[in-house]
Symmetry: C2
Subunit: 335 residues, 2 copies
DNA sequence: AAAACGAAGGAAAACGTTTTCCCAAATCGG
DNA sequence: CCGATTTGGGAAAACGTTTTCCTTCGTTTT
């Protein structure tokens, strides 16, 4: 008689069991004030508990023309720092009743566009670009009503958009000061292509920092191969340095991955003593896996809250600056 | 006059523009045969392109009582190997028009339950448990119609469920054989709690392998602390070994993270020469970051396709065994 | 005592699809 | 050339919500 399938129950079942209309159930669920007496609320609550009722999101989304989904489009999930930020975002979003959909754009404009379109069709509540790349659909999205948040890298289309990240220029300067203060005088800088604002600002900061101290990095110590991911990029740049017979006393990578790649070059070349290295991002695994790499730590755990704040506020140009700090790891001199 | 807001267009707009009914549009979109003439299809196609129409998922989901969402509940996203599997899953699912929702359960039953309930309310098409843990809701889900796939770890509730992973027991035996073949005779085994089938089977395989060769690992070389994550677990176990004055010539960890933790213990204790180590999983980063760790490689890239296959088939007990192989990395003897 | 108001709650519309019935026209089999 | 089948397509129901109007009381204000 009653629909007793394995299917979960709907608001109608709850209404029937509680002896009220579905409107009332909805209002109780959503906590609308002054719309139900204490006893009614109680009865509805009990019915909900009995039937283990949970709002079906499709119905809600359809009616409200929006969903609980928040798209997080990450440039590279293989980067543990990005994965850590994504994890932080997921926790924070859930705290607000939102669901994270995570995609890896592999830094490819076409893939990013495909995801953007798909997420619009899903009526995503907001879109978080964790390392955005310039692309047509992104450009067309500027005047959409869907909140877009740029994390780490600024809006690459030239328009100003909501941004969350550290002060990269300042971080670069800090690294330069740190290097000078520690007495390094033959630093090499390996950086990724400056298409991303993060890399660009870091490079500018580093060079400015050295220049201000009267110790500029010579041109032939600044390398920027354009091949492949950051790991291979660091590898190739370092091989180039080695081929040139250069022996820097410090290698600065604009990301930790670059530093990892560089380290591999020296290892493979058979060097026993690697130059000291410093990178950016400092993933949680560094403490365990890269115990000799110093790094500029970005506060991954703080990103989640910042993202939630950014998508909650109506301001599409809000800028949230998170604080970085240099994590210096001891240098193990091998005998 | 016409609804010309920033909102995206609906099936009605397409129908109007193409001069057909919404039913026809729907059929064209979904490729229903024998329901529209070639010219009609063409007209509808053009209208769709003009309006940049994309099906609103809420409407479809509501009608079909299911969604395109596939929930992936990972036990620990900080583990690069899990992140790699998740990335592989995402790509494969997208190829089938499905959307991945990624959650981190932190190996906690309560959190896993919370996610399970949420995903059921979302009418998730399927649920992928990437490292499941025993929990009440999971148990109650046994007779649900939603496909559930267990990856890496088998169904912890005792019921048999769809499984994807390597042959862990066999992998354990392979490691034992490898160790014996390489002449190690003072191996230490550090393993996580055997609540997970993966760990359990690996341990059994390893011990059986050594025993079969007449070279069993002595009890006091088998350690299984129960504190914290795998990194700390490895650290503590290794510290214990060091405190006991033991100097194994090989450390076997049931996961790479355990090996990383163990390595840290020796480093922090000031040892210049670490014991050789072998772990399980072999994340893509190992090649760069852990160039001396040998490991049993699981084929991360193969997981995506396997997951798609598992959730497509009706068989709720399908078992997909992926092939592992030992990646041996050279041992750099430091002078 | 009348008027005004707030509280409690129901009826019904609307959201965008898919899909089941229909029906008309065209094609086919004999 | 007639009945049967196929092809092409429309009308409308249904999916599960939220929310806008109403309506009915009971209470407060004049």
């Amino acid at each position: 008689m009653t629909k007793r399938t394995a299917q979960s129950s709907s608001i109608k079942d709850v209404a029937a069991l509680a002896g009220v209309s579905i409107a009332t159930v909805s209002r109780v669920v959503n906590g609308v004030a002054n719309k139900a007496s204490a006893e009614t609320v109680e009865r509805v609550r009990k019915a909900i508990a009995t039937l283990e009722y949970r709002t079906t999101s499709a119905g809600r989304d359809l009616r409200q023309r929006t969903s609980r989904l928040v798209a997080v489009l990450a440039a590279n999930l293989a980067n543990p720092a990005m994965a850590a930020i994504a994890a932080s975002a997921e926790t924070a979003l859930r705290g607000r009743g939102l669901v994270m959909v995570l995609c890896d754009t592999h830094d490819q404009p076409e893939l990013q566009d495909e995801y953007l379109r798909e997420m619009l069709a899903q009526q995503a509540r907001a879109i978080v670009l964790l390392g955005a790349v310039e692309s047509p659909t992104l450009r067309r999205l500027q005047n959409s009503t869907t909140p877009i948040v740029f994390v780490n890298r600024r809006n690459p289309t030239g328009h100003v958009g909501s941004f969350i990240g550290i002060d990269n220029r300042r971080a670069g300067e800090d690294v330069a000061q740190w290097a000078i203060g520690r007495g390094f005088h033959k630093a090499a800088l390996i950086h990724a292509p400056t298409t991303s604002s993060a890399t660009r600002e870091r490079v500018v900061g580093i060079l400015a920092g050295f220049a201000a101290a009267g110790a500029p990095i010579p041109d032939h110590f600044v390398l920027s191969p354009n091949a492949g991911d950051h790991l291979n990029l660091g590898l190739q740049a370092a091989q180039q340095l080695i081929d040139m017979g250069q022996a820097p006393d410090l290698v600065i990578g604009t990301s930790d991955l670059i530093a990892f790649g560089a380290a591999r070059a020296w290892r493979e070349a058979g060097f026993l003593a690697l130059p000291r290295m410093i990178g950016f991002d400092d993933s949680p695994m560094n403490e365990w896996l890269a115990s000799e790499l110093s790094s500029v730590r970005i506060p991954y755990d703080a990103f989640g809250a910042a993202i939630v704040e950014a998508i909650s506020t109506a301001d599409a140009t809000s800028q949230i600056v998170l604080h970085h700090r240099i994590v210096e790891r001891p240098w193990q001199q091998r005998i």
